[in-house]
C-alpha cells in the first residue's frame, strides 16, 4: 500500500517535470527574435537593401528549433510507417534500428564467444591471469573508435569494421567480469566437486558457470550498454545504414525534428536492452 502510494507520487512528480520541460521547450522554440522592431527606424531603401542582403527585417525570425508538437507529429509519422525503404538515404526508423541491433548483436555474440572461454582460463589459472594482465590493462582503456582506421584498413569492409568495433568494446567488461567471477567461486563448492570426482567439463558447466553467472551477466550488461553507446558513433563514421547514420543524415538534411526523434529512439532502445539484461541477471542470481 505504501509503496504504491510512493510510486504514484513519484509518477506525478515525473509527469510534472516532463510538463515543465515541454513548456520550457515550447516557449524557447517559438520565442520570436527581435528583428521586427528594427524595421521601424528604416527607410524603404534601407529595408530593400537589407532584403537584398538576405536579412529581411520584416520576417518573423525564430530560433529554428522545432517545438514539441512538431516533433510529436514527426514521431507519429515515423512510427506509423517504420519499415519503408525509399533508397539509401531514406529508410524507415525500424529498418535503421534493425541494422544497428543486428551489428550490436553480432559483435556482442562474437565478444561472448571470446570473453567467456578466455575469462574462464584467466579466472582458473593464476599464471594466465598474470600473463594476460598487461595486455588487458593496455587494451581496455582504448576508445573503440580508435580501432576504426585499423579495422577499415585490415578488414577492408565498413560493415565488418563496425561489427569489429562493437566486438572490441564489448569484450573487456565481459572478459574481466568472467575472470573475476570464476576466480571468486567459493572454495567450498570446488571442494565438493573435487570430493565427488566431478569431471572438469561437468565442473565447469554445473558448478563454476552457475556460481559465476551473476558476475558474468553483470559484465554482459555493462558490455551491452557500452556497445549501444558505441554503435551510434561507429555508424556516424561508417555510414550507410543504422540509427547512427540516420542521425548524421538528418543533421545533413537539417531536419532537427528527425534528429530529436532518433535521439529519443536511441534512449528507449538502450533502456529496453538494459532491462532485458536485468531480467537475465535476476534469473541467474542466487541467494546464499
Amino acid at each position: 500500500m505504501k509503496t504504491t502510494h510512493l510510486n504514484l507520487r513519484a509518477a506525478m512528480v515525473s509527469l510534472l517535470m516532463f510538463l515543465v520541460f515541454l513548456g520550457a521547450w515550447q516557449l524557447s522554440a517559438t520565442a520570436p527574435s527581435v528583428a521586427g522592431a528594427a524595421k521601424a527606424g528604416m527607410t524603404a531603401e534601407e529595408i530593400e537593401y537589407q532584403k537584398m542582403m538576405g536579412k529581411d527585417p520584416g520576417a518573423v525570425k525564430t530560433t529554428g528549433f522545432p517545438p514539441p508538437l512538431e516533433v510529436g507529429k514527426a514521431m507519429l509519422g515515423h512510427l506509423a510507417d517504420p519499415f519503408y525503404d525509399k533508397g539509401p538515404n531514406d529508410k524507415g526508423i525500424g529498418i535503421q534500428l534493425a541494422h544497428s541491433l543486428g551489428r550490436v548483436a553480432l559483435g556482442f555474440f562474437l565478444a561472448v564467444l571470446v570473453a567467456l572461454p578466455v575469462g574462464f582460463m584467466i579466472g582458473m589459472s593464476p599464471l594466465m591471469r598474470k600473463a594476460f594482465d598487461p595486455f588487458i590493462q593496455v587494451l581496455k582503456p582504448i576508445s573503440p573508435l580508435a580501432w576504426m582506421p585499423l579495422a577499415l584498413y585490415t578488414l577492408k569492409d565498413s560493415e565488418v569494421s563496425g561489427i569489429f568495433v562493437i566486438f572490441i568494446c564489448s569484450v573487456w567488461p565481459m572478459l574481466i567480469n568472467t575472470a573475476f567471477g570464476v576466480a571468486a567461486v567459493k572454495r567450498d563448492w570446488l571442494n565438493v566437486a573435487s570430493t565427488l570426482e566431478v569431471q572438469p567439463l561437468r565442473k565447469a558447466f554445473l558448478v563454476i558457470l552457475p556460481a559465476a553467472a551473476p558476475t558474468i551477466v553483470t559484465g554482459m550488461r555493462i558490455s551491452m550498454g557500452i556497445a549501444w553507446l558505441v554503435i551510434v558513433a561507429a555508424e556516424m563514421l561508417v555510414g550507410g545504414t543504422g540509427v547512427g547514420y540516420f542521425v548524421w543524415n538528418e543533421w545533413n538534411n537539417l531536419s532537427l525534428v528527425n534528429v530529436i526523434f532518433a535521439v529519443l529512439v536511441i534512449g528507449v532502445v538502450g533502456m529496453l536492452l538494459d532491462l532485458a539484461f536485468a531480467q537475465v541477471q535476476k534469473a541467474v542470481t542466487y541467494v546464499e
Partner: protein, 302 residues
Amino acid sequence: MWSDTSQREWAAPSAPAAVAKAVAISSDIPAVQPKAHAMTGFLQIEKLGKAYQNDKPVFADVSFSIDKGEFVCIIGHSGCGKTTILNVLAGLDTASTGHAFMDGREIAGPSLERGVVFQSHALMPWLTVRQNIAFAVKSKWPEWKTPQVNVHVEKHVDMVGLLHAIDKKPSQLSGGMKQRVGIARAFGIRPKMLLLDEPFGALDALTRGTIQDELMTIVRQTQQTVFMITHDVDEAILLSDRILLMSNGNESGGSYVPGGLAEVVVNPLPRERTRAQLHHLPGYYDMRNHIVDFLVSRAKAH
C-alpha cells in the same frame, strides 16, 4: 588409563569393570602409538606432518588408525592442524611428510569413497535440496536414470527428515536443515568413510543436539566409519568410540616443538547411549574432566 595404547583398539563397551578400571588410572601417556598396530586398521595414518615453514611444522609424526565401523573424533585448539589432517584424508590437501592409507591403498586425491560434510554445509545455492543431492548421486553413478536417482535422493532426504523441504533452495532453509542436507548428500554417495569437518559448529545448542542424535542413529544403522572434527567435548563423548587429542606446536625455551597427537582417549561408555542420559553414565564426568583438563592445561604445551 584413557590413552593406554595397549588397550586403545576397543574398550569393552558396556563392561562396568572396564569403566571402573579406566577411571581409576591416571593419564601419563605416550603420544605415538606402536607401528604394528597402525597396520591393521581400515584407515591408517602414518607419521603425517605438515609444514608451511620447513623448520616449524604445524604438526608432525601423527599416526593413528581407524577400524571399519568406528566413530573417531579429533579435538584440539584452532591451528593445531585437525582440519589439515581431515583435508589430507579427503584428498583436498597434501601432507608434507607421512602417508595415509584407506583400505590398503594410499590416499592420493579426492575420491567418491570418502564423503565429506563441510562446516559451512557447502550446498550449491542455485540448486534445490533435491538437485544438490542428485548432483552428488549422479557423480557417483553417472549411468543411473532420473527415476532411479530420484528414488535414491528421496530416500536420503527422508533419512534426515527433510522430505517436506526437498524442492526448496538452501537459502530457504535454517542452518540446521542445511547441515542435514549436507549429511544426506555425504551419505547419498554411500562412501566407505565419512569425514565431518566440525559440522555442527555453527548451529545453536538445541538444533545441534537434535542433529547429533540423528547422526548417531544413522551411523549406527549404516555401520558407517566416521572421522569427525569437533570443538565440543560433549559431542565427542556422545558420538565417538575414540577421541584423539591434538596439541598445538609451541615455542618453549628457544626450541620449537611441533604439534601432534598427544593422546588417544578410548570412550568406555556403552555404545547404546543417548544425549539425554549421557551425563548420568558412570565414568562420563571423569572422561569429560580429563579432556577439558587436557585442552586447558596441556594442549598448547606438548
